[in-house]
Structure formats: structure tokens, C-alpha cells
Symmetry: D4
Subunit: 250 residues, 8 copies
């Protein structure tokens, strides 16, 4: 139910076309659908502008399929993250339109083509950071944003970044994905006057402590305007960038 439907519904309640009892029941269904093991959040599209995104890790294949079927019946475009291939194959049986993105392990279901607007730039430091970078990029695209990519431009060879400065200037929001020491976020943050969202990755070994080094580095960035999400949380960065990029449309 989108915002328009919501208003119509409320008008009908007011006018008495829908009784209080019917309305109460409907609101419950509007709010969530109870599958026993899960209360699928059907209200989220109203609050957040995008339906609930399914986090597949720790859920059984059956649970993922059931939740996606509910969501697909209500909304146009659906996203599921951290899905292994086996999960996708089962989803595919029930929802043939579903697509799998192998590198970022995403399932996307697009029932309506959407116009991509604005510009989000996803920058990453090394080839090993690609899964996280692509999770960010596709998340943003699924939410209707135009996305540019600038990959493998880590500070060990900083000229690769400087030779592409015009891409930095052309974007409205920038996502920087980097593992190891994560210094790329500070360098980019020092060059631009737009919001930079930094994503530390678990790429590295030893004292990278599975991404802790990059996380701390990014949190302590001496460049202003840099905010940070959880280690390997490409989805979160893509989502936040989308909210920012879409601001002007409101």
C-alpha cells in the first residue's frame, strides 16, 4: 500500500465507509503479516520509502522464500542480501523473475522498470573489495539511483585516483569502500565538498582484525564530512546514499 492508498483508506474510515472493526483488522495487516517465525514489516514502505530488505544470513531457505513471496505480492521491487546460491535457486522456483548477483550475493526482484536519477559514485580501493562495492552499488540502483563506479584506486597508487578526479566532482554522494588501512576514505573526503560514506571491508589479514583497522581509520578521518557504516556493510552505505541522493525529490 503506497501513501496514496493510505490516504484513501483513512478518508473512508472517517466517512464511515469502512467500519472501525474492519479498519482495526486492516491496520494490523497493513502493519505486518505474521508468519509465525517472522512479522513481515508491510508498513516499512510507508515509513522508509522502500519495502523491507531481507537479510538472508541466519534464516532457513524456507523462511527466505516465504518472506519474499509475501513481499513480492505487495511491492514492485524487492531486495534480499547475503544470499547463498542455494537459497537463490529455491527462490527462483517460486519467483521466476528473481535474479542473482554472484559477486555481492544479492537477490533482486524487479517487477517494474524504474527511472534512475541523480548520481552516486562508488569508489573502491582494491579488487578484493568488489563484493562489498557491488552490494552498495546494486542496492542504490534498486532504490532508483544512477550509480557510477570507480574501482581499484587505492592509495598505494594514488595517481589512479587523481587521474579520475572529474568523477569525484560529478557525483552528488560518494561511497568509499576499502579494507586494510582504509586510508582512501580520508583522501577522497579531503578532495570533495559532498557527503562521503565510508565502508570498511574485512579485506586484509593479521592486525586488520577482520576490518577493525579500516573501521577505526575511517571513524578517525581527519577529513570532514565522512560518515561510516559497519564493516562489509555495502547495503547500508547504498541505502544511506540513496536517501541522500533522493532528498531533492521530496
Amino acid at each position: 500500500m503506497d501513501t496514496y492508498g493510505l490516504k484513501e483508506f483513512l478518508t473512508n474510515v472517517k466517512s464511515g465507509l469502512i467500519s472501525i472493526e474492519e479498519a482495526a483488522e486492516k491496520i494490523k495487516h497493513l502493519a505486518y503479516q505474521d508468519l509465525g517465525f517472522a512479522k513481515v514489516d508491510l508498513h516499512r514502505n510507508i515509513r522508509k520509502g522502500f519495502p523491507e530488505v531481507v537479510y538472508c544470513a541466519g534464516k532457513t531457505v524456507e523462511q527466505v522464500v516465504a518472506i519474499l513471496k509475501v513481499l513480492t505480492s505487495k511491492y514492485k521491487n524487492i531486495l534480499a542480501t547475503r544470499a547463498v546460491k542455494e537459497t537463490f535457486l529455491e527462490v527462483k522456483k517460486e519467483i521466476p523473475i528473481a535474479q542473482y548477483h554472484e559477486v555481492p550475493k544479492l537477490i533482486t526482484i524487479q517487477q517494474e522498470k524504474q527511472q534512475l536519477t541523480g548520481c552516486i559514485l562508488v569508489v573502491c580501493a582494491g579488487t578484493s573489495d568488489l563484493p562489498v562495492a557491488e552490494e552498495a552499488a546494486i542496492t542504490a540502483e534498486m532504490m532508483g539511483n544512477r550509480v557510477e563506479r570507480l574501482y581499484d584506486v587505492g592509495v598505494a597508487g594514488i595517481h589512479r585516483l587523481l587521474l579520475n578526479e572529474e568523477k569525484l566532482y560529478a557525483a552528488r554522494v560518494i561511497i568509499v569502500v576499502a579494507g586494510m588501512e582504509g586510508a582512501l576514505a580520508s583522501v577522497v573526503g579531503g578532495l570533495v565538498d559532498k557527503p562521503v560514506i565510508a565502508v570498511p571491508t574485512s579485506v586484509g589479514y593479521g592486525a586488520s582484525f577482520n576490518g577493525l583497522a579500516a573501521l577505526l581509520c575511517m571513524l578517525n578521518s581527519c577529513a570532514s564530512g565522512v560518515t561510516v557504516v559497519n564493516i562489509d556493510n555495502g547495503f547500508g552505505a547504498g541505502y544511506a546514499a540513496a536517501l541522500i541522493n533522493k532528498l531533492e525529490e521530496k
Copy 2:
């Protein structure tokens, strides 16, 4: 030197009004002013849209005064953070227009009144979080943004937040400041469809580990669209929120 001056300067170089030698010298001064102990970044206003902000911790009073004098001679509005009162009193002697904000320990120098636009909401969980919340709010105001405040609405009494929901919906960007367990960021993030910047504070004791608990809580927020800055970094949150709020003006 603002963007306009920069263009004029470049036109003059092109036309020969300014010689290559003069231009080279001028560019160096445009880039930074070397005080020996500091290279004041005079180029930052061009790159970032706001002059260098002075971080006073770890600098001597003399160093702060010298840097502020250089900046004041070049720019209209200047900000210095983490300044103790003694530092301010010395600054005041040299720059009488300087003002001190006791709670967030900020020095502001405003040589020109500016129009405040857009809307940034600063939410904080408890009275003890005020210094950080005010650092965020005043930073954003100094950068030309309209700021609303909603203080002391932590989740221990969540009705205080819910009774003020309309403030959440009226804002373009929201900054959430919270110590202890920092749960407020997730609750706010779950209610709105706009960017939320979370600032963990060092308020708490024991296993709060000086803000680490709140930091981890916020990084792991189950609500989408939440990004995080360093512990007690009100300035960073205010700056990032300003960049987001100003996006539409570009």
C-alpha cells in the same frame, strides 16, 4: 578567496594580465600559508565550501591564535573546536568579535550574518549528551543551515520521542546523539525515510568503555540509512549533515 575570485584570477593569467611567475607565487599562497608549525589550508574553502576548522586540542594557545588570525583575514566565518576557556580569552584579545560557547567548547567568529536554510534536527538522549549535541548544532548553523533541537528523549521513556514525531518528519537530515547503549539511533532510524547521522558519546561508565558500547550499537543498527561518526564527534556530524542539507542548492 572564493570561487568567484578564483575564476577572475585564472582569466587574468590566461590574458597575460598576471605573469606566470606571479601566478605561481600566488597559487602557493592560495594553497596554504606556512607558519612553520602549521600550513594553514587556504585552499579548503574552494574544495570543501567552508574554511579550515581549527581543532584546538594539542595545540598551544599561541598556535591557535596565530592560525585564527590568518583565517580571519581571509574568510568571513570561522570555527574552532575543543577550545578551553583560557584559549578563548587569548583569542578574544586579538579578535574581539570572537564568541565562546561554553557547553560545546566552541569558538565562533562571524564577520557576516548568513541566511540559514533547510532543516537539520539534532536529537539527543540525555542531558549529559548536551555538549556533543550543541557542538553538532552550532557547527551546522555556522555553515548556514537551520537547526532544530529535540533533547532528552532517550528510549528509557520512549513516549517523549513519540510525542514529538512531527519534528522528525519535518527535518531533512537528523543527527542522533546518544551515550550509554545508544539505542536511540536505531529507533529514530526505524521511523524516518531520511538520512540519520549517529553520534555516540562517552557518557556512561563501566562497560560503556568511554563510548565504545554506543559506537558499536550504532554501527550495528538494524535500521537502514544510519551512518556513524567518531565518539563525541559532534562537529563531524554537524559538518556531514550540512553537506547533505546543502546538496539541493548546488
Copy 3:
């Protein structure tokens, strides 16, 4: 041996019906049964009101079977935690009445049906937290407590919790199970005037550090009346809730 048998035994010692030598030997057996690799605590039912619960992790299948056989011969209702399916199948051969609960990996042996009293509510934040939530719920049920469940009501969609507030008010004790940032414990704790036991889970990734984020969040809860158990320790929460719920019966 229950409390009644204990008193009879002591009366017999006093009256001389049982000699000192016989009594000493009997007390040793009353205290524990020595299997060489284990001293099965047969005194625990007297001290704690429930027989020793077998923690299967790190024990061989043979050890688990042997300990369960001793316990089954002495007590009505037995619980074993963290048992893989292979272990259960071997237990089943020796104790056919044993049952397996796949999600929480529990083995239960019920030789007598018991009356369930009071009310413990188990709340969990997401579907991935189910194994821990069920460990808590079944532990409490095995100890004779009535248990209600309210699942998948995390703060990312807080209306799912608020629409079920009456369940919170109906309970005597509440167990809150949550991973990621664990904010749900504070929100529930702020709404009710009864004991809340928080269980952090290892659900999450990156800076959740296998449940550390949720643990710290819960320990720093700004809501009063919240106490915490170890990460993923559904059993411990169920046990403590049972002791609280049963208090009035004493």
C-alpha cells in the same frame, strides 16, 4: 531424592535406624555419582530445585549418554543443551522417550507431565534470533513455567512491538533476545515495571564482533530493571526467568 526424602533420611539417622557408616556412604552417593570423567551432581535438585542440566558441547557422545542415563534414573524431567543431532540419535537408542528440538538443539526427557504456571514472555528481535529464543522458552517450560512468545519485533519496525504491548503487560517476567545492536532490550525495559532479562545473540557481522556489540548495548541499558546473560545463553535466561516466576510459590 527430593526434600521430603531428605528429611526422612535425616530422621532415621538421628533415631539410629541408619548407622553413621551407612549414612556417610549414602550421603556421598546423594551428592554425586562418579563416572570417572564426570561427577554427576545429584545434589543439585535439592539445592537448585531442578536437576543438573547437561551442557553437551565439548563432551563425547558416550559421555553425554552415560550422564543422561544416570540422571534419568533419578529424576523425572531432564534437559540437555547444545546437542547436535548425532548425539540425540545415540541418546534416543538408550532413552527412547527423549525428544529433540532442532532449532535450539535441545534434548528433553519428560517422564511426567507437569502443570505450567505463571507467565514468562520471550520477545525476540529477528528471525535469525530464533534458536536462542527457543532455547530460553523451552528451558523455562521444562522447569514448569507457562511461556508466551512474541517474535520478530525488532526496533527497525517498532510498531510491531507497540501493537503487541498488551503481551508485555500480561507477563510476570520478560526475556528479550536480540543480536546486532540489541536495542530492543532498552525499549522493552523502558515500557514495563517487571524484570527484563536480556540475551545478546551472535547474530550480525563485522563490528557486531559475534555478539559483543549487543552485549555491551544491553549492559549499558538506560532503562532500569534490565539484567543480562552471556551471548547466545538462552538457557541461562530461561533458567533465571523460571526462578523469578516461581518465587511466589515458595
Copy 4:
């Protein structure tokens, strides 16, 4: 406003004695009183059964005094924690009935003598743990609970505990306060069949890491029925124990 007053108020709204407009205004005041820097939670007594407790750390003396004055005008018995003596002396000027407890740094305001019921036992390991133990004990007493104390019975001389076992058996709820390795919580937890709330303290040095060692020890207790609160959080333990001890009265 207590529960009785609330019902009367609602009856008056229903009957029309109070208009909708008046009621709306009154509800806002019922919910919190806005002091600008703080929203004093006036609804908490209804939700939690005890008015908001003032955490003084990080608040100015003026803020503490203002909040306490609001609370004193509405409720009978008020508690403020982590108050230094200077704060108390200012409070005393405005609220002469206020009392100071030097060891646990508590301010109590008792405008009505209350009946103490049930039995909470506070056990502590060493003399250095007294401030935290007393914070727990007085919190529970302020909430109307009878409290027993058993101090300085750490496991280095375990006979001191065992010679007082009857105190353990007489209590309904037990709070165990211990620093250094915190082993006392497990030993007590192994002896009794009632809820044990463990409070780690920051007493110790070196690898105690300001209470982290005791905290981890208590979270990993092999004894069942032990739950844990934050380091040095005597208040939280006393509050939770009070909720448990009062359960039967509901």
C-alpha cells in the same frame, strides 16, 4: 500521579467532565515536564512503579537541582545517584529534607515513610566493594524492600560465606557485588535456588581492566540463574532486585 489518579482522570474524560482540549494538554504535562535541557519523565511512575531516578554524573549542579525540584513536587520518594557532595549541598538548600549517603554517593528524599517488605540480600566480596554494595542496598530500600547485608565474604576465605549460609537461604533475591575476579557470584549461584544478580566492580588493578575481568567472569558463570548488570552498577542491581521482590504483590 499514581495509578488511582490516572483512572479517575480517564473517567472524567469519558464523562465529559474534562474536555478533550484540557485532557490533551494535561496528558502532555503528565508525560514529561520540559525544562529545555531536560524532559523530566513524569510518566515513569505509572510505567515503572517508581519515579525517574536522577543520574547526576555529567549534569551541572543547576540541572540536578531543577530536576529534583520538579520530581519532589510530584512524588513522595526520590533518588539521585552518583552525586558528589557539592551537588548535595546545593540540593539541600532547596530541599532541606534531602539526605546524603557518603559511601555510595546517593541523595535520597523521603517525604513519606514506607513499609519495607520481602527480603533482598546484598553480598559483597571485599571492603573496597562497599560503595557499590551500598548503592544497591539503599536503592532497594528506597523502593520499599527489606534489605539484609553480608559483606566481606570473598572466596579467598570461603568459610566466611559458608558460616553464613542461612542468610542465603532466608533471602528471596540475592545481589552479589565483587571486583577482581568476581568468582563469588558463581559460588553463591551454585548454592541457592533463587535469582542472583551479579554486579562486577572496578575494584582491582592491572588485568582487571577496570572491572572487565569480573564482568566476563560473571557473564560466564557456570552456575545457573545468575544475571549480570554493568560494572559498578549497584543502582541497576538494586532496582532489578526490587522489581523481582515486589512481584508477588501484584
Copy 5:
């Protein structure tokens, strides 16, 4: 070469029976045998009273076999730790007298039966701690010490320990092996007037952080006379206990 052989050798050097050149060469071989990938320490028996113990983790099977063959050719009794079964089977082919201890994963080679003297008591908290406890016990036995075992006497059922107090008093040195919260070390340490060596184990989950909780607990023991070795280091505890137990023989 034992101490006696060393003295004879030196006498021969002094008397000229062995030339300086021959002696220099012999000393090098006396010190270590160079296998390229390893310098087997042949001097250790002289310095430490027991030949080099082989740590098998991280070594290839071929390396372990080669080192054990060198040691077996020089000394009577040899010990290898952390050996998987596959390694043992290859060792067995070359050194048929070798024996495998499955629980502690030790290989022992005894070419001469030795008299066991003194008394070391190995106490452990739970059945899951057995591998570490047996590593300690067999190490001490291999070094010629009499060893007693008291297993599964953790503080959750402290009567199991107290009913065996006479074993504590009969020992000269006590090794306490415990995981989870490791409280047993403090309880034992408080009861006896002899050296207690505490071994934390990685038994546990969640906030046990693979033994860190037990380690910190033991390091902060309020009982005097407790020293600690690395997590799961049964070998180190057995070795140190052996040095202490053997002191009187020197």
C-alpha cells in the same frame, strides 16, 4: 649427553685426551643438531633437566618425525604435544615404541621406566576440560612425578570439591584447569598453603572469548599463591609443576 657425561668430557679436554679442535666440533653437536628447517636443541637436557619437547602444531609430519628420531637417539623419554593422529601413525612407523594419548593429543616415547615421586594434584572443573587436564597430568608423569586427578568439581556444585578436600591437602603442588569463568582456581587457592598453577581453558562460548574470561579471572584471583599459564596450556602447567615438585631432590 647427561651431566655426568659432560663432566667426563670436560676432564678429557683438560687432560688433552680430546684436542681443542675435536672438542669445538663436539660442543657444536652437543648444542644442537641442524636439520636445515630446525636446530634441535640438544643442550636443553643439561639446562632444563628434560629434553626438548616437540610442539607439533604448524610443523609438517616429516619435520616431526625427523626431530623425534634425533631426540630418541639421544634421550630416554621424549614428549610431543598437539599431535594429530595422522602424525602419530607416521611417527609409529619409525619409532614403534611411541604411544598416543587420544584425549590430550600427546605422543610419548618411553625407553626407560622411571620412578614417580612427590605428588602433583590436577583438578578440573568440567568434563569438557579433560583434554587440557590430561595434557598437564601426562606431561608431569613423563617428567617423573606422581600425579593425582580430581575431575569435574566446578563451583556450580562446590560440595563435590569440599567432599574431596583431603586430596587438596595431600598434594605438594596443585594444577587447576577450568574454562568458562574459571572461578575454581580462586576457591582452591583460598583453601591451601601450597603453590597453585591455574590453567584457563577455551571451554565456553560467547563472552568467554575463547578462554579470555577464564584467563582474566585467574590473573585477578583474590587468593594468594596462584600463578597462571596460557589458555589451554596444560603442558606448561605440568612442566612448571614438575619443576616445583622436583625442587627438593636437588
Copy 6:
């Protein structure tokens, strides 16, 4: 009361010279003396061979004085650790025989001269480690052990240690005190065949993390026979070394 007095007392109970009622009362006093804030452990001398040692940190001056007066009235030789000078001056007023050791901040009360036996060697790495080294040395001396000192022989100039090897060979037990990286413990442990007790100190800065680096280093010592106590715990090392050195006398 020493062991002899204990036996006499028990004989008198058996013979009826002391009534059961008198005995029960006496046993309580034998076990501890209750000062309200402290239960002074009077049984410790029997269990541990040395009276309770007073840890002054976190106790008020009045508490320390009261406890020391009880102990002085019962035992010959008393030790108090971590006492600031102000505490000592108050103790001195009540117990004029008390002595203060400024470097290790110890108070000693010797009412009877004792024979020092055996040999404990205290080795330290640098001059900054002296306070901890002296705490170990004087503790051992107070317990009747002969102590040798070998100070400032850290591995940065390892010849200082090697030129004093004969001191290592002459000792029965060795205590190694070192901060920074703590490597000295491994080097000493590799040279001798006697128990080595390692004491990490908080000497250092940055990544020494107040002694954590030295602690971890010592716990991971590749030399066998090294056990470890808490950071800066000279007292614990001295106590454990004393127990070991005294073993042969039993």
C-alpha cells in the same frame, strides 16, 4: 592461633573441658572478626601459613588501621600493600613498630625476628620496574625467605644478564619483573631448570597498553616452566615464590 593451639582446643572440646556452646562461639571468633565493614580472616594463618595481607587500595584510612590492629593483636608479622604514605602515618600512631617501604608502598609490622631460609632471586629489567620488584622481594622476606636481587638486566643489553648467570643457578625460585615487551622472562626461563614466576609491569607507553603487552608476552613464553601473575602484582609473585621455596620444610 597456630596449629598447635588448634589441636589443644579440639582436645579440650573432646574431653569436655570446653562446652559445645563455648566452642561454637570460639570457632566463630577463630574464623573471622566482624568489624561491620570487614570480616577479618583469622583462619587464614591456619589455611595458608601466613595471616591475611591487607590490600589498602579502596579502603579508608580508618578501615586499614582497624584491620591492622586486629591482626597485630593475633599474629607476629603483618604485611599491608599499596599503602600511600598518609595511611602509614596514621597506622604508625596506633602501631609504632610499623615500618614503611617507600618505593613499593608497603607497610610491614615485625614483632618477632625470623630466620630467612632457601633462596629466591628477584630479577628486573629496568630501573622503572623497581617498585614492583621490591614489592615481590619484601613480601617474600616477610614470609621468612632469603631473597637475592639482580636489577636492571633487560634484554636490550643482554650481557648484563649473562655476566650474572651464576646468580640464576644459585636460586631455588626466580621472579622476573619486566615491563615494555617483557622478553626477559623468556630468556631467563630458557636458561634455568627451576620455577620462574613472571610479573609484567605497567612500565611503558603507547601499545604497551599499561602492561598488557608484557602480560601477553609472558603468557606466550616459548620457554617452559614460566608461570605468570597479574600486571604489577609483585606481592602475588613474592607470595607464590615463598610457598614454593618453603615446600621442602613441610
Copy 7:
């Protein structure tokens, strides 16, 4: 392109033999080759004196092969680190001259034999440290340096090091590789007057925390002139040692 080719190119640009447009295009190719998923840094040989080294972990086999083919077409000698055998076998198909080093998991491609100069000594503490030590040694050799090895000389048997002191004195730079407590770096650093690069390894268990103990130990070395690289980073140590050893040739 080497430095010579670069100068020729620039001369041609200056003289007009190469047009500005051609030059611009060529410079881009000179800087990096864009494979989509990677921007192979072709400028690194000019900046750093050695072509980009390929870090294989986290890259697909196809990505590694593609990058190595680009590099092999431009440079003589190529190095790839952390390559599993399967990766090598695919590389071998495309680049038959490639060689695999099983212990350190390196792929080397040598298309021109080079003169080895200077002297770098690689010292390691135990046999389990060999993979890291060999990674350092072969990296340095690939960069044209003569390398000596001194393996298995840990401080548990320090005579093995001292008997080889002349090797320490013969080297220009020393790399010390050690796990567990990592004390070897301090001992070597105290003996020599040349740069020592310490490499902590993840060899060990329990409180070694995967190399953290050795890392902290080395960072706190009391010996001067010791610098440190990441845990298990043999490559980084070999690279830095090569830069130092080659300094005189510039």
C-alpha cells in the same frame, strides 16, 4: 617502461615528435591498464623501483591470471603472494615460466636473471615460522638482494643464536620472524647496530590471539632500531629490507 624509456618519451613530446594528443593517451596507459575489475598500476615500477606485486587473497583465479599477464608483458620479474596451488596451476598454463614456492605460497616469474647484492639476514624463532620467513627471503631475492637464513634460533635455547653471532654481524639488514611471545626481535635488536625489521607471526595459541601478543611485544621492544610490520607480513618485511639494502646503490 623503465626510467630510460620515460626520458626518451618526454624528449619526444618536447620536440614535437609525439603530439600532445598522442602523449596524453600514452600517459594514461603508462599510469595503469584498466581491466574493469582492476586498474593494474603500470607506474609503480617508476615510483617504487619494482612492479606491482599481486596480492592473490580475495581475487578470483581469473583475475590473478589476467593481472599477471599484463604485468609479464611489461616487466621482467614479477611476484604474486598468498597464492594457493590451484591458482598457480592456472597461471602456469598461461605463463609457463612461472614457479611456485609451496611453503610461502608465492608465485615468481623471472624472465631475466639478476645479480644479487648486499646482504639481508632472515632470522626465525621456530620451524612453524618458516612460511613467513621464506616469504620475506624470496621477496628480497626477487628484488635483487642476497639473502642469508638463520632459522629455529628462538630464545628458549638462546645459545643457538649466540653460537651464530657472526651471521648477525655480517648482515646489512636483519629481518626477525617470530610468533608466540616474539622476544627474539628484542634480543637480536640489542646485539647489533643495524636496522632490524620484526615480523610477528600468528604461530601460537590461546593468549597469542593470532599474533597479537608477538606484535605488541615487538612494538614495545626495549632495544633501539627495531621497526615492525603486520602479523605474518613476510612480504612487507622483505620489501622494506630490500629498499634499505639497495640504498647505497642510488
Copy 8:
């Protein structure tokens, strides 16, 4: 005693001019001078090429003065680190030639002017890093190296670094001093083909954890050739750089 004197001394021993007894005594004095609380390492100049440097933290003023007097009587140029002004003033009384460097808190004693050779560049990120940068620079100068400084060129304004690239290329060794996220080390390391020694500083707040963030960042540098010293260890970096810079002179 320098190397020349050492050879003469040995020749005299060989020729009999110095008796064995005299020589043994002299060697002991050559090795160290025993002040009781310290063994001043007089052999270090021979081993390391520079006399022992006095670390003043944790030493009493009397100890520092005594050690410096011994060193001044034997060597030309002496360095003491981490000296507060009060210490210097006492040193000055005894050694009037001593000088104090207020920013880095160093005492230097130069009894002979020395030729400065080679080139070490000290780069620092911000003004607050100056104390550490100066500690590095003056240490290197005291050891006879020419030092250049490039201060306040952090990555937030990277043009300040890039405009000074020629300084990077002119140096033989580079020291990079940076706090907060420490990204500068990676950027510099990516630009040059010479050894880079990175010094993390404790400048920063919150999640910088007193320099831990910068330390981890530098250890994980994706640029090759970067080695790291302890947090705030300017001395160690200066010392290591000096050893490298002086290599060619040997």
C-alpha cells in the same frame, strides 16, 4: 671506550701487559657500571654505535642525574627522553652543558660538535603531532644525521603534501608522524622508493583509542616498504632511521 681502544686493550691482554685478573675486572666495568638501582650499559656504544639513551619516565630525578653523570664521563654526546622540566633543571646543576628541548621533552648533552650527513625527512600530519616529530628529528640529529622537516601536511589537504613532493624525493629515509587515522603513511609510502618509518601518535579522541587507530592503520598499509614503531615513539623512529641512513658509511 670506542672500537679502537677495545683492540688495543685486547692486544695488551694477549701480550701480557695486562694480567688476566686485571683484564677480567676491566671487562666488567667495560660492560656496565652498577649503581645498585641501575646497571648503566657501557658496552652499548660498542654494540650499537651510540651510548645508552636514558628513558626518564618512571625514574626518580636522582636516578636520572646519577646515570647521566656516568654516561657523560664516558661519552661525548648523550640523549635522555621523556624528561619533565624539573628533571632537566636538576640535571643542569650537575651538567651545565645540558640543553632542554621543551616540545619533545628531550635533554641533550653535546660535548663535541659532529658532522651531520645523509638526509632523513620527518613528515608530520598536524600541528598536534609536533612533540613526537621533534623527538624523532632531534634523536636523528644527535646521532649525526642531517634532518629535513615537512610539517602539517595531513591528507585532509593533500595538496600541501603534493606541492612538496621534491622533499620526498630528496631524502634517503622518511619518517611519517601522524595521529587520528594515520593515513599519511600510506600516501607517502605509495609515492617513494625508499624506506618509510611510520610513527602513530596518540593525537585524537574517541575511537582513536589513544593512537590504536593510527597504529593499526599504519600496520595495514597497502603501500610497500612501510615499517612501524610504537605509538608516540619518535625516539625509536629517529634511531632506526639513523641506522639506515648511516649504513653506507660502514
